[in-house]
């Protein structure tokens, strides 16, 4: 079917266009800064002559248009520039925090999707009962809480009570008595990940429950659900075979759109829990005015979100046979 193939091509082009726009915004925004990468340098041999030479080397004396082309070329080679603070390549500096963030985000997101789906489906199914009302208000409340505040609340009221660490990524005493075993290492890692992931997960849980519930309600009102009931299917079978399958369509779209929010939440959560991921690195860069790093991190986050949106588009394509354009 040609229309179907068109869809994939169109979505791919759109994703590429979005990446291009994001890159351009990134370039323009950081050009709006007073001064440039060189004017902030402070060192003994940083004479005016040296700076001018450096500017020439970096292409900063060229027109904006030339600079833009240089920037694109550098990006194409995966070069994100040197950190304004440590003068190391930003790409390398991003790698470790990215791994930490990905692990924590995955944990939190998987938690929220599983529980959000469960409660959302049950709430829609038992619409109007106390189960529905209870889960609805709970999720609305979580959805309305600022992530960083929920994090603080968890640190204050929960962390010590259940004996989980709420700062850093590794216990200071780990490895004091020789190398920790792989098991001990990862157990420690996981323990440090749980609370930040839980914080993020709870806020997302609220959002996802609301999304799933309303998508399910919409679906359960469709005529084919009545047909399924007339055919004699049990309630459970209807929810599983007809309800969930169709409700997945809006759910996939909306979860993809919430990715920007997830990333934003991750930044503050990492700050609260002192968890060394991209978010903490960004806060640090803001503090030290390391704009080159900030630029690289923003680009990384943006491109990841665009990528996941693209994947969601493909998933939608697979789920819905009607998609043609």
């Amino acid at each position: 079917m040609e229309g179907r193939a068109d869809y994939v091509v169109k979505r791919t082009l759109f994703a590429l266009l979005t990446v291009f726009v994001a890159v351009t915004i990134n370039f323009l925004l950081f050009r709006a800064l007073p001064g440039d990468a060189v004017s902030g340098l402070r060192c003994q041999h940083c004479t005016i002559q040296f700076k001018a030479a450096l500017r020439h080397d970096l292409g900063l004396d060229k027109s904006k248009w030339e600079q833009y082309k240089i920037y694109l070329k550098q990006l194409a080679h995966g070069n994100l520039g040197l950190s304004d603070v440590s003068h190391e390549p930003v790409r390398g500096l991003l790698w470790d925090p990215l791994k930490n963030t990905l692990l924590m985000l995955t944990l939190g997101t998987v938690f929220s999707i599983i529980f959000g789906l469960l409660t959302g489906v049950v709430a829609a199914w038992r619409r109007g009962t106390w189960v529905d009302k209870g889960s609805l208000w709970t999720s609305l409340a979580f959805y309305s809480m600022p992530t960083q505040w929920l994090g603080l609340m968890i640190v204050y009221f929960v962390a010590d009570r259940i004996g989980l660490p709420h700062g850093g990524i590794q216990s200071p005493d780990l490895g004091i008595l020789g190398n920790p075993s792989t098991y001990d290492y990862w157990k420690d890692r996981l323990e440090h990940m749980i609370l930040p992931a839980l914080t993020l997960g709870l806020v997302l849980y609220g959002e996802y429950t609301l999304i799933v519930r309303s998508a399910m309600l919409e679906t359960l009102g469709e005529d084919y659900v009545l047909t399924a009931r007339a055919k004699g299917l049990s309630n459970f079978a209807i929810v599983r075979k007809h309800g969930l399958r169709n409700a997945m369509l809006p759910i996939v779209t909306l979860i993809a759109l919430s990715l920007g929010f997830i990333v934003g939440g991750a930044i503050t959560v990492e700050y609260v829990f002192d968890y060394p991921g991209i978010g903490l690195a960004i806060v640090d860069a803001i503090d030290k005015r390391d704009y080159t790093f900030l630029q690289g991190a923003f680009l990384l986050l943006t491109i990841s979100v665009i990528l996941f949106n693209f994947l969601a588009d493909l998933l939608y394509f697979k789920l819905d046979p009607r998609v043609t354009t």
Binding site: Y143, G221, G260
Partner: protein
């Protein structure tokens, strides 16, 4: 609101109900009656009015100065300081009231900016159509995908820490969903009979937009703006928490930041942590309740749930029939 529509579920009657609202011109009283008949919307509206009142008259209500030490550091709540004091010995209740003013200001102003941009893009796109529509919607789609909070953070880091900047940044990032919503609405209004009739009678585009289209999309735009207030209040707490807020302004986000940086946790000062977050949560809940109720009333998705745990009931016959 989405919370619940307890439906009188007679299938045939419902069809007639929902058919009524579609394609018809909305009377001005519609939105008022939509809100007044929904308890969730009323409660939300009351809460919003309360906070707006505090925001306007707050300076008369603050028991202490927010710039001076008026008690010991991290004093627990007492009759002198109802919500205790913060890490600088400043009265928390006064800070909270002052924070209401700034947070509400940012929320409403940024929502207004988003409404103006999104409304304009939506109306132009939906009304003009054609290539302009395609281009505007592509742009909207692109900005819908670019993660908003990181973009805000970067912009705030670059453009400097002032309240005005924060308002503009939030506003110019949150217009996308408004634009999409309004465009769809404008498109459907444009196709309605009375608009077509007005057009065939020679009404100019300006006249059509201001006389026919805008009044019809206004309720939806307002509902969307109320939801936007919630998002803006939320975004302000994020930006401020990361140290990018206006250094001279006390907002709820700033109070959360203070509690964090001032080690309220280590000092066991829950009164410095809990209140600002509760305020943000309540305002966002209230906005969601009002905005959602309005949207639901405007776009009724009256549908019978075909599946429920409860089944239809059997009723014995006899005697009682005549009174039914």
């Amino acid at each position: 609101m989405t919370i619940d529509h307890p439906l009188p579920a007679a299938p045939e009657q419902l069809e007639e109900l929902s058919a009524e609202g579609l394609g018809e011109r909305r009377t001005p009283g519609f939105i008022r009656s939509a809100i007044l008949t929904q308890p969730a919307a009323l409660v939300g509206l009351a809460v919003l009015f309360f906070f707006v009142f505090i925001a306007i008259f707050g300076s008369y209500l603050e028991p202490y100065s927010i710039h001076d030490k008026t008690g010991p550091v991290y004093a627990p709540p007492s009759s002198a300081h109802w919500l205790g004091t913060d890490d600088g010995g400043v009265d928390m209740l006064s800070l909270l009231i002052a924070g209401t003013r700034v947070s509400m200001e940012v929320g409403f102003a940024a929502a207004l900016v988003a409404m103006l941009i999104g409304g304009a893009v939506g109306v132009i796109s939906g009304f003009v159509g054609g290539i302009i529509d395609v281009v505007l919607m592509r742009i909207t789609d692109i900005f819908l995908v670019i993660p908003d909070i990181p973009l805000m953070i970067v912009m705030a880091a670059i453009f400097g820490r002032s309240l005005k900047n924060i308002i503009i940044i939030i506003g110019i990032i949150y217009w996308t969903s408004t634009a999409r919503l309004i465009r769809a609405q404008v498109k459907s209004v444009r196709e309605r009979v009375y608009v077509k009739r007005a057009r065939s009678l020679g009404a100019t585009n300006n006249r059509l937009v201001f006389k026919h289209v805008l009044p019809q999309v206004a309720p939806l735009l307002i509902a969307n703006t109320v939801l936007m207030v919630a998002l803006a209040v939320f975004a302000e707490t994020y930006i401020t928490f990361l140290g990018l807020g206006d250094p001279s302004a006390i907002s709820w986000g700033r109070l959360i930041e203070n509690a964090f940086l001032g080690n309220a946790v280590l000092n066991n000062a829950w009164w410095a942590i809990v209140p600002p977050g509760v305020c943000v949560t309540i305002v966002i809940l209230a906005c969601t309740m009002v905005g959602q109720s309005m949207e639901d009333a405007l776009n009724p998705r009256l549908k019978v749930g075909h599946l429920s745990v409860r089944r239809f009931r059997l009723r014995p016959l006899g005697g009682k029939l005549d009174s039914e």
